[in-house]
């Protein structure tokens, strides 16, 4: 009887919206990943008590589409982890509050979602941390800060997943990892006395074709991405990770110390993706007051690709964005559309299924900007002329597209060539582009054209050591050794710490029989990179050759010096021990000579010359 009475009092009226039956499932799915203790959102939402305290806030935030944050327009690309609420769901939340925000019977409440605490993918194979916390001021505008994290590796590893733990989720809006293979960011670190360095966009130096090919991105409430089995990325010793973070002052001083967890695999990648950057920063010259300034870019694909994900990027006055593909048959395929851009919620968007696009498809980017005073997000008041740059008052017009070239071979070179040519049409005086194109042409075997491009780059910037070095390599592959040597020599004069140029110069000199000079340049490589095995082997070889030359001129004691150094550098080389032994025997040091021949035979029991020499020495 009492039970019945209880039910009669608390059971919802027909059609009544209750927390337990209608609202909790939505909050669990869409809100709780961030709105729970220890996460990025300012308050938890999973329980009735939490939700009731914020009931009106929930209605206002969902109706305006401020929450859950999700910028892409529905119907313009199918993305994994889409967080946008449907109109009916928004209406339901509204009705719940209108009807008094009832709880409803406990039996209606679905089980609460389970979340993994700590590292989401388990204990990482390697964790790198910011050396010390960065202190974010209590007030002021947003801060864009970059932190350099050296990776302590002794051998190359393949990374299948990266987990970023921002350290202070309440103030970190998003974070991005860049791979700095040349440690080019270290010198900028702590230049203003604080850990890290300022800037929204980081330009890394690289003199090899090794494109950043993966989006390594963190935003609140999104689990870390695990790369497909065959798509891990390479991490070499000496590489730095640069963590680019968007921080928002909270009202009090906030320490931030991020950690990066790396998960390795033994499997080298079979599929090599690439990030295509559509951009038109050069067109950004937005007059003050202009409400609908357009920046566009269109790039024709030179081969078939699969698109895995996209990352649109602009700053504060970016308003609207479109990314689409026009197929060779003229049909249009949407990649993404954002009606109300908000830098605070920028993100990487990955497709639920890769988007296949055939060769000849044109990829398009459209960005619109509102530089009027009516745009509350305008960082400048009154509005001022806006150009491209990496401060928050500057703008950017970027659209990154992650693609995997289809078909056999490394299609990235073909893509890179087409993309660089495309960019050169936009920026014909850009040295780096001429240089990049030259480097790509060189690796594609188009040497003649590569030489032209590199000379073009050097015409604009004669001090460009990397272009100088590449020109040397191009000339060398054409057999023009003298000219190659001259270019390498200029490169190392411009940059005495340029290891690759020293190495190339050493090789060219050695090819001309100038062993002593070559040895000097290999020694420079080893000064810069003591662990460089190819340089060590090369040095041992030229010392051997040099020793041989001296021996042929009967300068035996000088020959001994060269051979000794060679053997020390490459103690596994049986020939080296044999040669040293022979030279020692010539200068009368029989005892040591015998030890050398014996060592040669230990390394290579079938070494005929060493056996014969040993016999002669023992006689």
């Amino acid at each position: 009887m009492r039970g019945l009475l209880f039910l009669a009092v608390t059971a919802p009226l027909a059609g009544q919206i209750t927390f337990n039956r209608h609202v909790a499932p939505l909050l669990f799915e869409y809100c709780a990943p961030c709105h729970r203790p220890g996460e990025a959102a300012p308050f938890p939402l999973p329980t009735y008590r939490d939700a009731r305290q914020h009931a009106q806030q929930i209605v206002k935030a969902t109706r305006s589409r401020y929450m859950p944050p999700w910028l892409p327009e529905p119907g313009y690309g199918e993305f994994a982890g889409a967080r946008r609420l449907g109109d009916d769901q928004v209406r339901l939340l509204e009705q719940w509050v209108e009807q008094g925000a009832a709880e409803g019977p406990a039996t209606d409440l679905p089980p609460a979602p389970r979340f993994t605490e700590g590292w989401q993918l388990g204990t990482p194979d390697l964790v790198v941390r910011m050396p010390r916390p960065y202190l974010l001021a209590a007030q002021g505008g947003d801060v864009f800060r970059n932190f350099v994290a050296p990776v302590p590796l002794t051998e190359t590893r393949y990374v299948r997943a990266v987990e970023i733990r921002p350290g202070n989720k309440r103030v970190v809006h998003h974070a991005n990892i860049l791979i700095d293979r040349k440690q080019s960011s270290r010198r900028r670190d702590e230049q203003d006395g604080e850990v890290g360095f300022a800037g929204m966009n980081v330009i890394l130096e690289s003199d090899t074709f090794d494109p950043e090919s993966h989006f390594l991105f963190w935003k609140p409430g999104t689990p870390p991405e695990v790369e497909p089995e065959d798509m891990a990325w390479r991490l070499d010793p000496g590489t730095d990770l640069v963590l680019n973070m968007h921080l928002q002052p909270s009202g009090k001083l906030e320490p931030i110390q991020a950690a990066i967890g790396l998960y390795f695999t033994h499997r080298a990648p079979d599929r090599l993706p690439m990030l295509l950057q559509l951009d038109n920063d050069g067109a950004l010259d937005i007059p003050p007051g202009k409400r609908d300034f357009l920046a566009a870019d269109d790039f024709r694909l030179p081969l078939d690709v699969e698109v895995l994900g996209v990352y649109p990027h602009a700053h504060y006055i970016g308003k609207q964005m479109e990314g689409f593909a026009t197929l060779p048959d003229g049909s249009k395929r949407w990649l993404i559309r954002i009606r109300d851009w908000d830098i605070n919620w920028q993100a990487v968007y990955r497709y639920t299924k890769p988007v296949s696009l055939p060769k000849g498809t044109v990829l398009s980017m459209r960005w619109w900007y509102d530089n009027s005073a009516a745009n509350p997000r305008n960082p400048s008041r009154p509005p001022r002329r806006v150009r491209a740059g990496d401060r928050s008052a500057d703008e950017m017009a970027h659209f990154w597209i992650q693609v995997v070239p289809r078909g056999k071979g490394d299609g990235r070179m073909v893509l890179q060539e087409a993309l660089t040519r495309h960019k050169l049409r936009k920026y014909p005086r850009d040295v780096a582009l001429h240089y990049n194109l030259g480097a790509v042409l060189l690796s594609l075997g188009k040497t003649e054209e590569a030489v032209g491009r590199l000379r073009e780059a050097l015409g604009i910037a004669p001090d460009h050591a990397a272009a100088r070095n590449s020109l040397g390599a191009a000339l060398e592959s054409q057999g023009k050794l003298e000219e190659a040597i001259a270019e390498y020599q200029r490169a190392v004069r411009q940059d005495p710490d340029y290891a690759d140029a020293h190495y190339n110069l050493g090789n060219s000199l050695a090819a001309q029989g100038r062993f002593e000079e070559a040895a000097g340049h290999y020694r420079e490589v080893l000064r810069l990179h003591p662990g460089d095995t190819p340089a060590r082997k090369r040095l041992a070889q030229v010392l051997q050759a040099s020793g041989g030359g001296l021996a042929s001129r009967n300068q035996w004691s000088e020959a001994v010096t060269r051979y000794r150094e060679a053997v020390a550098l490459d103690p596994e080389d049986a020939d080296g021990h044999n040669n040293l032994g022979a030279a020692l025997a010539r200068v009368g040091n029989k005892g040591e000579a015998i030890a050398c021949f014996e060592q040669a035979l230990r390394l290579q029991p079938g070494h005929e010359a060493a056996r014969r020499n040993l016999g002669l020495a023992r006689r």
């Binding site: 009106q56 806030q57 209590a138 009090k252």
Partner: protein
């Protein structure tokens, strides 16, 4: 069957008897009246879990530094009845909030001023009249939409007007922030 009306009545009756208008209390639970004394009073409504009011903490400190020497009294009012005293104490210390801390568990001050969100300010002139209610400044335009810096400092202007004995330029403005719980 007897309804439970009788019991409920018994519960309500003593409440009505001891307070027509339940007062705001300080953190020790002592009723506090922020309108005593012949001076200007500024009430700031806050929540411990509202990122927007948190972000205003440095601005509130600045306003206090500027106007407290002129005799203006500042009250930090926490109207969310479910916020524990300890959480409020910790919050006020963490964000270095100035002035007197009040709880408004019966939302007496909320009703009196008409505040709806946090942060929202109310200014009472020395004669006890409400002369301003609304935003601190215009930095926030909407949830998630803010200017890099404020252009109009409405609360400061209202305090200046009250100190000069003049009416505020705008008696009310629309504050942007987190809703005060329990309001319909």
């Amino acid at each position: 069957m007897r309804s439970s009306l009788g019991r409920r009545f018994l519960l309500v009756a003593p409440l009505l008897a001891w307070a027509q208008e339940p007062a705001a209390v300080d953190l020790a639970g002592t009723p506090a009246d922020p309108f005593r004394g012949n001076q200007i009073h500024v009430l700031l409504f806050l929540r411990t879990d509202c990122p927007i009011s948190n972000r205003y903490a440095p601005e509130i400190q600045r306003l206090h530094q500027r106007y407290a020497p002129a005799g203006v009294r500042f009250w930090m009012v926490y109207p969310n009845r479910e916020e524990p005293v300890e959480a409020i104490r910790r919050h006020a210390a963490e964000y270095n909030l100035p002035g007197q801390i009040l709880r408004d568990p019966h939302q007496t001050l909320v009703k009196k001023t008409g505040a709806r969100v946090t942060p929202e300010a109310a200014v009472y002139a020395a004669d006890g009249r409400l002369v301003y209610r609304g935003r601190i400044d215009d930095r926030y335009v909407d949830l998630g939409k803010s200017r890099p810096a404020a252009a109009r400092h409405d609360l400061a202007a209202a305090i200046d007007a009250a100190l000069a004995g003049k009416p505020a330029a705008h008696k009310t403005t629309r504050a942007v922030g987190c809703f005060i719980s329990g309001l319909r």
